[in-house]
């Protein structure tokens, strides 16, 4: 994976750039010391590291705007950064860029229960939004496993998902508005407390844009009332096919559970000595289903899910009696990543999405690949929406193993695309999957996406080298290749 070549002339101007930034953000808000910069050298994709040229931590939208304006004038690149938990390298610094951290935007500005929304600064963590409203019985639905650390701005930038997105939607379905600053310093507001932003749906396009379109400085999200009751159903299967069939049947019968997560034997084994999950060990795959709503509905759905599970040959079935038991069922799932982290020095997290009915097929082929590459793979999925998280286990200290793990990962993603799925369901393309974009999109598809980028950032200074494998200049993208259409279309009916 190659990053664009750093511009030495920019690096040579470092002290001038620092001076300019210090005039905008005083004191400790501009970080230049190498030791301190190390804290920003990577995001959650830790295989890639790069010291940023400078880090700036503005505190107000005005400062963000001034920083961007100044960098635009000086022709200096910007990498936006939330908490740096991203798993695809979206916030990976560039040697010739300023990393703009939103860590000081920590305030919740407005809690409006009547209109079921919260207005927050982008550096507020995902979990903090729920914490701010849970005493009143509300919560913010999208719940990435990183919720304690990741920021709401980063969630919007990645269109983050979570376990409860099956029923309640992804970030994009729960954001009502944003305030953002364009690369030239212009402040734009999209949406608000009302539904639909009006005009072209730029809010929808900005969500999931991985910091390429603008820097988000404010977010309005929708909160929901906590359901009265939630129950967990834990189901074990003798083979992965039965697990896949169970998921398909639940959805096919018209039930959309609050959450539906699956784990394979390797993951269950990994957590055995780490958490007291209470999971059965003699199953090939395990499903956690959460049903929420009104008591009688939950009761009814729990029974139906249990029947479906038995009908496909489940060998283990437990329904939670109390809320403690339900939470206990989630404990294992929540600790799946760290558990795997304990049985292997390193692991790569994949994030493909596939049509659900291809699950068994994809798992079988993944097992074959695992043998070919000589690397273990553990599987956790958001089963309800077909989003897979294969974790590839490797040891970065063994020469060549990282490369092999990455190749294995790429093969898994190619497999996902081949069966009708996509490269990434929620973690973003970043640098990790950038060079695989051609597996999904044609050159024209990618160019059309990049023209959107040009409309927001004609200079191309915002987070370059991410998402798109080839950098095109906007003038080049704007040029028309005119193909003469033949009139009078002999074959087209006309009236």
């Amino acid at each position: 994976m190659k990053m664009p070549k750093p511009d030495q002339a920019t690096i040579a101007r470092r002290s001038e750039i620092i001076k300019r930034l210090r005039a905008i953000v005083p004191g400790e808000g501009v970080i230049v010391d190498e030791n301190e910069l190390t804290a920003y050298e990577c995001d959650g994709l830790m295989a890639y590291r790069q010291l940023p040229m400078v880090v700036v931590l503005p505190q107000t939208t005005k400062q963000v705007s001034d920083v961007l304006k100044a960098c635009h004038e000086m022709d200096v690149k910007i990498v936006p950064r939330g908490a740096g938990t991203g798993l695809s390298g979206g916030a990976l610094p560039l040697a010739d860029a300023v990393t703009l951290g939103l860590g000081k935007f920590k305030a919740i500005l407005d809690i409006d229960y009547d209109n079921r929304c919260v207005v927050a600064q982008p550096g507020v963590t995902n979990r903090a939004i729920t914490e701010a409203v849970e005493d009143e019985g509300y919560y913010y639905a999208p719940d990435p496993s990183s919720k304690i650390a990741c920021t709401i701005g980063g969630n919007v930038a990645e269109n983050a998902g979570g376990m409860h997105c099956l029923k309640y939607g992804l970030t994009t379905n729960n954001v009502l508005g944003v305030e953002m600053v364009l690369m030239d310093g212009e402040i734009i507001r999209l949406g608000g407390k009302h539904m639909d932003a009006g005009g072209l749906d730029l809010l929808g396009a900005v969500t999931g844009s991985e910091g390429l379109l603008g820097v988000i400085t404010g977010v309005t999200v929708r909160i929901l009332k906590q359901p009265d009751v939630a129950k967990g159903v834990l189901v074990g299967f003798p083979n992965v096919e039965a697990g896949g069939e169970c998921v398909a049947k639940i959805i096919g019968s018209g039930i959309i559970p609050g959450a539906m997560e699956m784990m394979d034997k390797m993951v269950i084994g990994a957590m055995q000595d780490f958490v007291d999950s209470g999971y059965p060990l003699d199953v090939e795959s395990l499903l956690v289903v959460e049903l929420d709503g009104q008591e009688i509905e939950v009761q009814y759905l729990t029974e139906r899910v249990s029947e479906i599970a038995k009908s496909v040959g489940s060998t283990f079935l437990r329904v939670s009696d109390t809320d403690e038991e339900r939470q206990q069922m989630w404990k294992g799932r929540m600790s799946a990543f760290p558990s795997v982290g304990r049985i292997s020095p390193d692991y790569l997290t994949m994030d493909g999405t596939i049509p659900r009915h291809r699950l068994a097929d994809v798992l079988t082929r993944m097992t074959e690949l695992s043998k070919d590459y000589g690397l273990r793979v553990a599987n956790v999925f958001h089963a309800g929406d077909g989003n897979l998280h294969p974790l590839i286990l490797f040891d970065a200290n063994k020469p060549g193993e990282l490369d092999r793990a990455e190749e294995f990962g790429h093969d898994i993603l190619r497999l996902c695309v081949e069966v009708g799925g996509v490269l990434t369901g929620e973690h973003g393309v970043g640098v990790e999957k950038r060079d695989l974009m051609g597996e999904v999109f044609s050159e024209d598809d990618l160019k059309q996406q990049q023209r959107l980028k040009c409309a927001f950032d004609g200079s191309g200074l915002l987070n370059p080298g991410k998402v798109y494998p080839t950098l095109h200049r906007c003038v080049e993208l704007g040029r028309m290749k005119i193909t003469e259409g033949n009139i009078p279309f002999p074959d087209i009916p006309r009236f």
Binding site: D114, G169, T172, L182, I187, I188, R189, G192, K193, H194, M195, D196, G198, G199, L200, D201, L202, G204, A205, T207, G208, D228, I251, G252, S253, G254, I256, G293, Q294, E295, I296, E297, Y300, T353, I354, P355, H382, D385, G386, G420, T424, G425, V429, K433, M437, V440, D444, K447, Q448, Q449, C454, A455, V467, M480, I482, N486, F489, P493, R494, F495
Partner: protein, 388 residues
């Protein structure tokens, strides 16, 4: 004389658009033309009629996904969904109440960004469009998205296409997320509510997962075909509850207990519920008469804004949506009545729509950004220019 070009294949669409690009000929992109009344009137000599591009290409009920060619009649989509007990959860409106037209195509439905009373619970068309193939105003074929719900592979251009009113690009097929139909639906009514706004918000913000919260003032209620409502001679708050049968019964009961402090409560069963929410969705109450505005506002402010405006109106989305019967010429007065949100002139004669901003104007910077976005897809403005 306007010429209608009716391609039957994607390649033919491409041919038409390329010709239009090279000769700089504007095209009005059309499905069945059932929503001609929406947006600024368009004057083009050539119509690109997509209704020949028809047919469901993929429907996998267990996967909750469907792909259809852009000109597929909505009726065909509905029929297929009905057979599998599924639906488009965003509840797209039918144009009969507003424009006295019937039918429509799936492409036109997404292009007009439809959504209905279920919007606050289930989202709008934009939330259900998973991907598409299209031909840009540059004469290039491209696609975006896919057929799976969770997908962040590249920018989400489906959101942009949804509600783009025939501008940007010509969609040739769309892939949408579908959902199971609820087993049962019922409606709780509150008659002559003492506090309309609070009654609606209490229902909306209850844990009972309501799928519609509306208010019909007395003069609108009188036009309903549901006798419980038209005989009441008072304003009515209506709250819809959907789901498995036993759950609906219990939630209705709980809502009645919650809302009875605002007025007398009553319950509608399935067939009346279907009628009522169709009327609300399709603006059937205003099918007679003049110009119509649609206001999307902060829900808690809805009742006050509507009262202050003083026009005949009703509310949906727990107050967040106001349907208003007022002259198209009143754009300024209407838009001055609320600080946040937007107002669209949904129905007015062509000459009126040509003389006012049909869609809410944007601040300069935002408008310039939208213009740049549009130019990225359609640099010569050949696709339905001026409609939006």
């Amino acid at each position: 004389m306007r010429e209608v070009l009716k391609p039957e294949t994607e390649d033919q669409v491409l041919e038409v658009v390329r010709w239009a690009v090279s000769s700089k000929t504007p095209l009005e992109v059309r499905g069945q033309g059932t929503k001609q009344g929406l947006g600024n009137p368009v004057v083009c000599d050539h119509i690109l009629d997509l209704s020949g591009l028809s047919g469901i290409e993929l429907y996998e009920p267990q996967e909750l996904v469907m792909t259809a060619r852009a000109g597929t009649p909505i009726a065909d989509i509905q029929a297929a969904l009905d057979e599998a007990g599924q639906m488009m959860a965003f509840e797209p409106w039918q144009p009969k109440g507003l424009y006295r037209t019937e039918g429509g195509t799936i492409g036109g439905m997404f292009a007009s960004g439809a959504s209905g009373p279920r919007r606050p619970l289930a989202g709008a068309a934009r939330d259900h469009m998973l991907g598409f193939h299209a031909i840009s105003g540059r004469g290039e074929q491209f696609k975006s998205g896919g057929r799976v719900v969770k997908n962040v592979t590249g920018f989400d251009l489906s959101k942009l296409m949804s509600g783009s009113m025939g501008t940007l690009s010509v969609m040739t097929d769309v892939t949408l997320k579908v959902l199971p139909k609820p087993e049962k639906s019922r409606t709780v009514l509150v008659f002559a509510p003492t506090d309309v706004g609070r009654a609606m918000l209490d229902a909306q913000n209850s844990p009972y997962e309501v799928s519609g919260v509306a208010y019909l003032p007395v003069e609108v209620a009188a036009k309903s075909q549901v006798s419980y409502i038209n005989h009441a001679s008072v304003g009515v708050v209506a709250v819809r509850v959907e789901g498995p049968a036993p759950s609906v019964a219990v939630r209705c009961q709980l809502l009645r207990e919650l809302l009875c402090k605002y007025g007398e409560v009553e319950e509608l069963h399935t067939s009346n519920t279907v009628t009522l929410w169709r009327e609300i969705r399709d603006v059937e109450y205003f099918s007679e008469g003049g110009d119509i505005w649609r206001l999307s506002v902060t829900p808690s402010e809805g009742p006050t804004i509507a009262d202050a405006l003083g026009d005949v109106h009703y509310l949906d989305w727990a107050g967040g949506l106001i349907w208003l019967q007022a002259s198209g010429q009143d754009a300024e007065r209407i838009r001055a009545a609320f600080p946040n949100g937007h107002a669209t002139l949904m129905r007015a004669p062509n000459n009126v729509r040509a003389s006012v901003d049909v869609f809410q104007p944007h601040p300069d910077g935002l408008q310039a950004l939208m213009d740049r976005v549009r130019a990225g897809f359609d640099p010569h403005a050949i696709l339905t220019p001026g409609r939006m």
